[in-house]
Subunit: 339 residues, 4 copies
């Protein structure tokens, strides 16, 4: 009953097969291999557009590298106060942007509130030499409270950002969980809404280590700088085929969607079941594979005694994360212990 | 007949087995897993000392992260003019050190000449507020011309560095190739000579993507900063077990030495055979798995026609790199084409 | 009737005399001159302690250089949301610290509220590798709303900071205005309360361009790094005597206190007079030489027509700044126009 | 007999008068004052072109700020191995460019040799993602050995640079000394030769602290970024009028040329006289106000005993620097002591 994090789960067996297939013979280094090229085509097809992509090995690297070509060093990224880029990356965005500022914005359920964004844009001018100008809006989808912005909510926030010429970054460490939750297409959740760059995470959803940084058409011409930054950051792996092969297998035949659906379904069952128990109160809606729930002390202790692993969150709630390999038996055992 | 680079070669099958074994069940994230802990113990045993280690995924990351805890932003790394950290990493050391200077030093066969080091140390003071002080000496072993410093040569250069309180970094992207060439122990080629930190590369020697940054006892206390920098650089992989597992399999039962020996032997046969041909002249001694040889135009063309892949080097020579999977047949075919 | 900023005012005549005196003969460069040494002694005497000091030429440089030796690149400065270092320095602290984070805290009248500080310290751990640790508390005295922390308020906030081993920086761009407002000694407002480093501003108070960065005994040993950073930032002026001579003349015979008293008195008269007028409402207490007051549109227009220069502040109020050369006639004319 | 440095000399009395004039009444802050605007016009007239300019307070700041808008963080500045930006600025260019590389080139008398430049450009490609691309050629005029490039020499080097699309920066800390030595116009020594940006120094030539960063038409559009960097570096002084007023007085009625002529003439007399003495040997031609001369130990001791102040240079020579206030009597006394 490990609900600590989706990064504690093993990789799906298809990934090992893909690595074995990628391990045949010699191949060009640094991403020029045929596997990487094929995965780019897969992504173009799935996102229904011509895009540029590079592969990397951690969500932090993926976010920070993306921001490095979106935000100048003397400018500012607007994000939610709970955003992973602000709270959980040891300042990687500040490092990769060479000193940009991250401005934390308020909003319930880790969603930026449109009023908070409007107020911030009013307070921080774009062309005053003394002030750090806003340059990027970064949205997490799924976000740090396990919630997904609806397409309408995305429209409002991105509209505000575009009206001030900001670029829009999406932290998609749990992109697929949000995608299957909203039942929309990848295109509908990204470039069709105005997203300029996407950090698409596979690692948390059944993969060993593979993330894609996708530049949509509005910023596609920044690929050379992105490659230079990737190299300079030690993130251009010599044998890139082993990273892209993971992404390819994950995207193939809808595996990414299947794995996310499994994780989301497990989370939903856990969320519904546990919140129905006395002494438990759901803190955020469960839109993906994360459940935040306030537990009375006795209840929390009982769950831990039964062998459930979960984190105590700073806001006092308990966080349960499911993954593609959370079993029905795990959920049942947890709910039995709770009742 | 692919002699382009050891990074174009596939990984040894033992690596895939190791990944499959590592893929069992849940494991703590970010390097706290039992696999990573076990590999640390393997390294302590093999290097015969208590050391600290973190794992990463490219040689550039390994060098730059190591330097990030050895060299302050307003200080200087001394390296050979041909050093990979100076020529081939798009300024990653400058990025990770937050602006340190790399000073290129002269010397034949990509080895720093003791006179060049002495002259530099004389010219650049350690305590003059206007000048960038030397802080680190970085030595590549095997170096960029395929040569290994002898233990005596290491003693001289490191002695000069220590007399000025410099720390010593070893770029060991092809460490094992140098090690088997010198027939010494890992300890003898590193901390027993005064090396403070080692970037130990496995990727070029039969692995998919795994590198170790080793802090010997003199700088072991810098581990917390190294971890912080690793996180900040997006290089603390969530599922680190898959990186350390590769290193573990590679070190296990002498596989790393076997693979390097194979590559070195192939290079030696290639070097001896090709330099005996009319119109070919060896440029550097062959101490590892790289052969630098000047070829008359006709000869070079003949080899390419026969299907040999190799790079033209900036100094006008041709570079042939062998790997663990270079076959006797490859070498024979090359030499046949040459004659 | 120029109330735009204290930086629009000319320098006191004593400053020109001091420059003329400093301009006699040859003198050592880069701060090793006798004038600079003498001013250091003046500061030791006035602050009643052994301190280290360097001189610089803008408040932004003074703050950013001070922070560069207090906050590591992967750590965090806590400051008020309205703080000059956060809002008005184009990210100079991020630049000089090489990428540190500035976290904006709430509190009325631009004073950090102790609850906000406590909450922040609870949310941001000091030793979690994924999170940016708080390293410095920066307090503006006088602050950006023209208010001074009382000595008791300083005790509370600094006590909270010290309990978590944070260093304390004071942005004293208008230090003297706060000092005469509180009627305490420089020591009582700084190191006796736990302030580790002070950016002491003279420019806004009658000087051409002179600021002191003072390291109190707790961080005095950081002087060599401060000097290195000063040089690296192009802020170690070759003929430093002309900067320190200004500071010396300003400190001499209580001139700094006299000038601040004049400015504060003018502000008090303006504040009292204007807030008694219909259609005007004071927004913050007037503790120094800045008055923030909400004006009805007609009233504001009338003042501008009468020739009064003042800025409209982002919060909708009008900001009036007085200086040592604001005259009684200026105030009278303003108040006459208002009535 | 102070020949230590031109930065040890006092300022010309005209400077004090200019400060007094600038000190009349209120003026806009941060460079928007009429004095600064007038000086910009003076520079346009003297350089016979439409240019952009900002003012700063040290040569290091001037060089580093200029380079900050010429060289990207992952690119490279080519300069002479003895260049001030490489040797004497504690890495300020690396800091301001956010991590660019400075590559030291060889050449006698601190002049880059065209072969060294050609060789470097051949070795370092512009479009290889792994290598740091050359972006800027920086030339010191007068250089660190007291020599001036001839106009023909400038044409050769700048031609090589332009053929590879490099921008050209001129470190003119002693610009006027070179100018009067070559008897050409400011335009002929700069933009007419292809110089894109000039760091024009006044401080070493009779001024307290004033330097201009001039962007010629090819890079004029980078002014907004230069202003942002100036602010971010704490170098946008609140009361900028006192910096620009110095530059204005210095340029007025040819004072800058007169002062340089005096200093150069003194150096010439010193150079001619001292090199005619037994035991003295001129090391570099004397093109400006610096004399580098090798002195036998006895001779050097004799000069010091007579009260002459000069530095021992790293190459073993003695450096004598003259300034606008070096007197004929000083030179005579020195030569008398030498004979």
């Amino acid at each position: 009953m490990n609900f600590l994090s989706d990064t504690t789960a093993p990789a799906h067996p298809a990934l090992l097969d893909a690595l074995a297939r990628a391990n045949e013979g010699f191949a060009p280094s640094y991403g020029a291999d045929p596997v990487s090229q094929a995965v780019k085509q897969q992504l173009c097809d799935l996102f229904e557009t011509d895009l540029e992509v590079i592969f990397t090995v951690s969500g932090t690297a993926s976010n920070a590298l993306a921001l490095s070509v979106l935000c100048p060093p003397d400018a500012m990224v607007l994000c939610h106060d709970e955003a992973h880029i602000h709270r959980d990356e040891r300042g990687a965005p500040e490092f990769f942007t060479r000193g940009a500022k991250l401005l934390p914005l308020a909003g319930e359920h880790a969603k930026i509130h449109p009023d908070a964004l409007a107020d911030t844009l009013r307070q921080w001018p774009s062309d005053f030499v003394h002030a750090t100008p806003p340059a990027v809006l970064s949205l997490s989808q799924l976000n740090e409270s396990g919630c997904a912005y609806t397409l309408d909510e995305l429209d409002v926030l991105i509209g505000q950002a575009k009206a001030r010429d900001l670029l829009v970054h999406m932290d998609g460490a749990r992109f697929t969980n949000a995608l299957v939750s909203l039942s929309c297409t990848p295109a509908e959740m990204t470039w069709k809404r105005g997203v300029d760059a996407l950090s698409l995470g596979a690692t948390k959803n059944g993969v060993m280590a593979s993330e894609a940084i996708i530049l949509f058409s509005s910023v596609k011409d920044r690929l050379p700088q992105l490659l230079a930054n990737q190299k300079r950051a030690g993130l251009m792996l010599p044998k890139m085929r082993y990273v892209s092969a993971q992404m390819g297998a994950w995207l193939d035949k809808g595996l990414w969607l299947d794995l996310a659906q499994q994780a989301n379904a497990a989370a939903k069952r856990l969320s519904d079941g546990l919140s129905a128990v006395d002494g438990a109160e759901l803190v955020h809606p469960t839109n993906g594979n994360e459940v935040f729930i306030r537990l009375e002390d006795g209840l929390a202790a009982r769950l831990r005694e039964a062998g459930a692993g979960f984190y105590s969150w700073p806001d006092g709630s308990a966080r349960f994360v499911t993954s593609w390999c959370t079993t029905d038996a795990d959920i049942s055992a947890l709910l039995d212990a709770a009742r």
